[in-house]
Subunit: 349 residues, 2 copies
């Protein structure tokens, strides 16, 4: 805390380059921006001078006067950048925008509405060219005025209420229904759902999809017990215990999310019931095939989701102005054993 701030910005300016090359400043500007109407020899001389001085244009100064104030940067607003699923999406987005020499700010919102509002403001103050948002707010209405002013937005992983924009989702409901149907067809009649807070849209959709599937598949009576709000390992364990100590104990469990699935596995292992109670989880994870039994999951494709989100955003930045598009990236059932444990009503083949 002693030295006066050392500014790493005594860089050469366009004027310096112009002086050294013996040309006007506008000619340097032309060369730097690859504009036409500069003779080959002059251009070469300018480039030499720039190299010699180690000149790098100041993109912010340029943008001040330029009409399309593009920063070649986008903002990525995630629920939690440390989540493995989101980390893969982030990386896929990076790979996509990198082909256009764009970069990305990442911010985590922690399911907090106020954080989202502040993050959007922060990104706008930094003049990002567009925003990819995993929305956590109850309404995205606060975005509309920015969209009206021309800000491109893409929603990812969750749909948004109160604002319209391109959206990339997983087939939460359909895939979850599949899980329920498989349970019923294997003879399970008392099913359980364990999930995190219902304020999260994907959680609601997966629960609803599972309920739909159970209803559709219903051969006899099918009963589904729902335990949402299991936001940490202890709460999941408590939920599992409740499901298994009901009057009619559950024989199959659907976990709505990665970390929930892992916690359910832990709970079942501690009770020694991992081979008795069927389990299907939403989202895949490492080692799912190596625990006993292997865990049946609905595998999402976060890389595809991220890539598509970036492509849509870049299209909008390029001026594409059609109606909002909705893309659904399918998840698929990966059978590994835990989801294939038969239930009491199972008719042997």
């Amino acid at each position: 805390m002693t030295k006066p701030i050392a500014p790493h910005n005594s860089r050469p300016t366009m004027r310096d380059v112009a002086a050294l090359a013996g040309v006007g400043i506008k000619t340097v500007s032309r060369v730097v921006n690859n504009e036409p109407n500069v003779s080959k020899t002059t251009a070469e001389r300018v480039r030499q001078a720039a190299d010699e001085l180690n000149y790098r244009p100041d993109r912010f100064a340029g943008n001040l006067r330029r009409l399309d104030r593009s920063t070649q940067a986008i903002g990525l607003l995630l629920a939690d950048a440390s989540d493995p699923f989101e980390a893969v999406m982030q990386r896929a987005i990076e790979s996509e925008i990198e082909t256009r020499d764009m970069v990305m700010f990442t911010m985590s919102l922690d399911e907090n509405e106020n954080r989202q509002m502040r993050a959007v403001e922060e990104m706008l103050d930094r003049r990002v060219d567009g925003l990819i948002i995993m929305p956590v707010a109850s309404s995205e209405g606060h975005l509309v005025r920015y969209q009206d002013a021309g800000l491109p937005v893409v929603f990812i992983d969750r749909s948004a209420k109160g604002a319209s924009a391109d959206t990339i989702l997983t087939n939460n409901r359909e895939a979850s229904a599949l899980a329920a149907e498989q349970f019923v067809s294997l003879g399970h009649r008392y099913l359980g759902v364990v999930g995190r807070s219902s304020t999260i849209e994907t959680e609601r959709d997966r629960k609803a999809g599972f309920l739909d599937g159970a209803e559709r598949a219903c051969e006899d009576i099918v009963d589904v017990a729902v335990e949402m709000g299991a936001d940490d390992e202890e709460l999941v364990e408590a939920a599992v215990r409740r499901l298994l100590s009901k009057e009619q104990p559950v024989t199959a469990i659907f976990a709505t999310q990665n970390s929930v699935t892992v916690a359910v596995i832990g709970a079942l292992h501690r009770m020694g019931l991992q081979h008795q109670v069927a389990l299907i989880g939403f989202d895949d994870f490492p080692l799912a095939d190596l625990v006993e039994p292997g865990i049946t999951v609905l595998r999402q494709d976060p890389a595809a989701i991220g890539r598509l989100a970036a492509i849509r955003l870049l299209d909008r930045i390029d001026g594409e102005d059609g109606a909002s598009r909705l893309d659904i990236v399918p998840s698929r059932l990966v059978r590994r054993g835990s989801g294939e444990i038969p239930g009491p009503a199972h008719k042997r083949a």
Copy 2:
């Protein structure tokens, strides 16, 4: 691709606010920047006008003339932002800088030297206040001139050659030595190391530490077979098979890294040897306690590493100018079973 670019930047300027408030532009500037010498009533009038117009200062225009051209942004250069370990570091850094209203660009380098050089240039062009780098280059010499010009840099996870800066590391060698010592004390005499490419510093350190430990612990003869360059699942499986089909097959394996450990577990399971061959892995992961046997690991603390890196960088940005510091964040051995499988020379208690 049809509509002309819609610029989301017809924002009100300081002049507009000044006009509405009936004051000079400099007075608005004073209010916006909380400078003294503005009467309470004038300040209030200005703030009202700003609110009414929804005014937001243009930070880039401001910085053009300002002496300390701080952007309140840092660059984070990782090997691969989708890696869970790095994702947690990233999030910890974000949490730390957020307390200062700073934001972060993240770029992935993919162990590619050229990508690192381009990423650094890109960040500098964007005038970041500092850089946190997980170095992938053989030499970081290219950074020195920027550091000399005052750019604060912190290295994370790996030390750098050819440049000096604050560095945050895990105790790779010591922790790895511990693994070897435990194997030997449990009666193992033929040990194996499986790791990724030796060009990565952490891989080299962990291997070297393990060899050190084996040597120090040596009661009889201890033989260590090394299999580096196992960069994907198939290569790991092949490496494991080689270790187990040697003249003197290995009875204990040390995996240098998360994904390697997971692949080794898979290979051992497929051979049905997971209860015969001891295994310790560097870095923890979900479900490590739920496979059979539970996996003994050297657990790192990526959140602490990230937090510390951010703190060091912020200190440097604040002008701290002491000699480069080295911080070691300890990893600790978490025993879960796989690392406690005894070897042939084990003396029963």
